[in-house]
Amino acid sequence: MAATELPASDEAPAQGRRRNPLDEVDDPSSLVARFSGDQALTLDSGGRLADWQLAYQTYGELDRDRANAILICHALTGDQHVANVHPVTGKPGWWSLMVGPGKPIDTDRYFVICANVVGGCMGTTGPASLNPATGRVWGLDLPVITVRDMVRAEAMLLDRLGIGTLFSIAGGSLGGMQVLQWAASYPERVFSALPIATGARHSSQNIAFHEVGRQAVMADPDWRGGRYVEAGVSPRKGLAVARMAAHVTYLSDEALHRKFGRNLQDRERLTFGFDADFQIESYLRHQGVTFVERFDANSYLYMTRAMDYFDLAADHGGRLANAFLGTRTRFCVASFTSDWLFPTIENKAVVRALNAAGASVSFVEIATDRGHDSFLLDEPELFATVRGFLSSAGEARGLAR
């Protein structure tokens, strides 16, 4: 298979050399596409980004027909480092179980692309980036970003890479929202689509949880009205609390009981104080602390807002099926039984709309107690579904085996 010449980023950043997350913001350790001049990004808010950039990674090789590209869309706090060692945390990529040589999304067969979304903090233009117009960090001057803005930016990246039609597009949660938005905005560019553990809108309860997180960030005195970078501080406590609350929603009661129960942390008995007596408390604190090491607080505000604003049906006259009318994309929707953030019913609403639009759609509900985060974990049924769906779609697309 002769590859078309494109930049490749298969080589993982050198292990052990962990970078400061602030260094990643404008000069990421990944590929970067810079846009300026007549390539401004127009935003749903009415604003526009004149000079902006998109950080991305690629894996595998684009085939001669440019027909084997798969776009991966990352979730709320994910980034472009899907299947390589993360430059800041030094940990494996967030979907390295799913994406790689011989994996369900097989990089020996497909050309995989993942871009850090607009509003992110790993090298794509976001609130921590420098605003070229002012020379200052954007902060909250950055217009609010929507899922459709993210998708528009990704489409511009594909234009630049010379990829017309994606063989497939996959993502969970916010990534799944992008998948649905892609299928609605650019149906002719999406041959097959895998929205996982997602929904066509953010529910009231989910908006509520996000608001708790945002309020935690903004209540931290070190947030400084969003201007903390210039002040040399960071709302670490607020962001950690936001992450702790959010993390609970990614798991399930059953899984927490299985993993932690009421076990005590490094102690024999209760201390009658407010230390982390229970293992679950210690675990959550750890989640919070490690998260603030790698993520920008303002970016967290923008990402959560983008999800809250997402309502695909509202953009199509209140009827979700209208978003997919006439589509020829092949869909495979997957949900998890214990996911209470994007429960099966939300995923099924998408399936119902696709059926009503006459689309080709498959749907699996995977039995697991691991909650929303199941899509990131070792779930053999999910892998089997993705592998089977992609290989049959590959046959239909005429991809080399």
């Binding site: 509900e365 089977g388 769906f389 049959s392």
Partner: protein, 210 residues
């Protein structure tokens, strides 16, 4: 999936499925309820060039279907048919599943709403073997076709051909075609009276429309 050149699955399809496939007009839109591993949908795609969709309750079945390139949704016929719009399909097929549904009447009504035509196949509980087993032994029949004991059978709503004809009348469905298959799935006695079919038919296949 290494399909032979004719596109059929490597295993020979059930004979009753071939009979059902013969009833489907080429190039039509089909919903197969209870797709199992996708045998009927695959057969319909290969021989009738249909645009096929399926509903299957088991995760294993759905995964097999997805791997075969079929568009199958995990769901329950008793619950999920209401999600489909009116007249979405030319045919809605329920093969050997009616007796396992909780609300057979509701399911058939939904089929007729979703599709222009409904094809229903079911085992005939009026067959003479079943009658003899129940009549002589006084026990619920267990046969090679109906191998379950009463307490562990998935088949909770058995009916005879005559019962099904009554249901069609009650829900004002027009019977367009009806046929009876023998134990091997071959069509028998093309023009026999209803009592004969009800006594000797092993399986029945009905094509209904509104």
């Amino acid at each position: 999936m290494n399909a032979p050149p004719n596109g059929l699955a490597a295993t020979t399809p059930r004979v009753d499925l071939i009979a059902i496939a013969a009833l489907v007009a080429p190039g039509s839109r089909v919903l197969d309820i209870g797709s199992g591993d996708g045998q009927l949908l695959k057969l319909l795609e290969a021989t009738r060039q249909v645009d096929g969709r399926g509903i299957e309750i088991s995760q294993k079945g759905v995964n097999e279907c997805v791997a075969r390139g079929l568009s199958v949704v995990q769901g329950d016929a008793d619950i999920d048919l209401v999600d489909y719009p009116d007249d979405a399909f030319d045919y809605v097929i329920l093969s050997q599943t009616l007796q396992a549904t909780h609300r057979p009447r509701h399911v058939v009504e939904q089929m007729l709403r979703i599709g222009s035509k409904a094809i229903v196949s079911f085992p005939n509980f009026g067959n003479w073997r079943v009658r003899i087993l129940l009549g002589l032994t006084g026990r619920m029949p267990v046969t090679s076709d109906l191998p379950h004991f009463w307490y562990d059978t998935p088949n909770i709503h058995f009916c005879t051909i005559r019962d099904f004809v009554d249901l069609c009348r009650d829900i004002k469905a027009t019977v367009e075609t009806r046929m009876v298959l023998d134990r091997t799935g071959k069509r028998v006695a093309f023009n026999a009276p209803l009592w004969f079919w009800n006594l000797f038919g092993q399986q029945a296949v009905f094509v209904l429309r509104r």
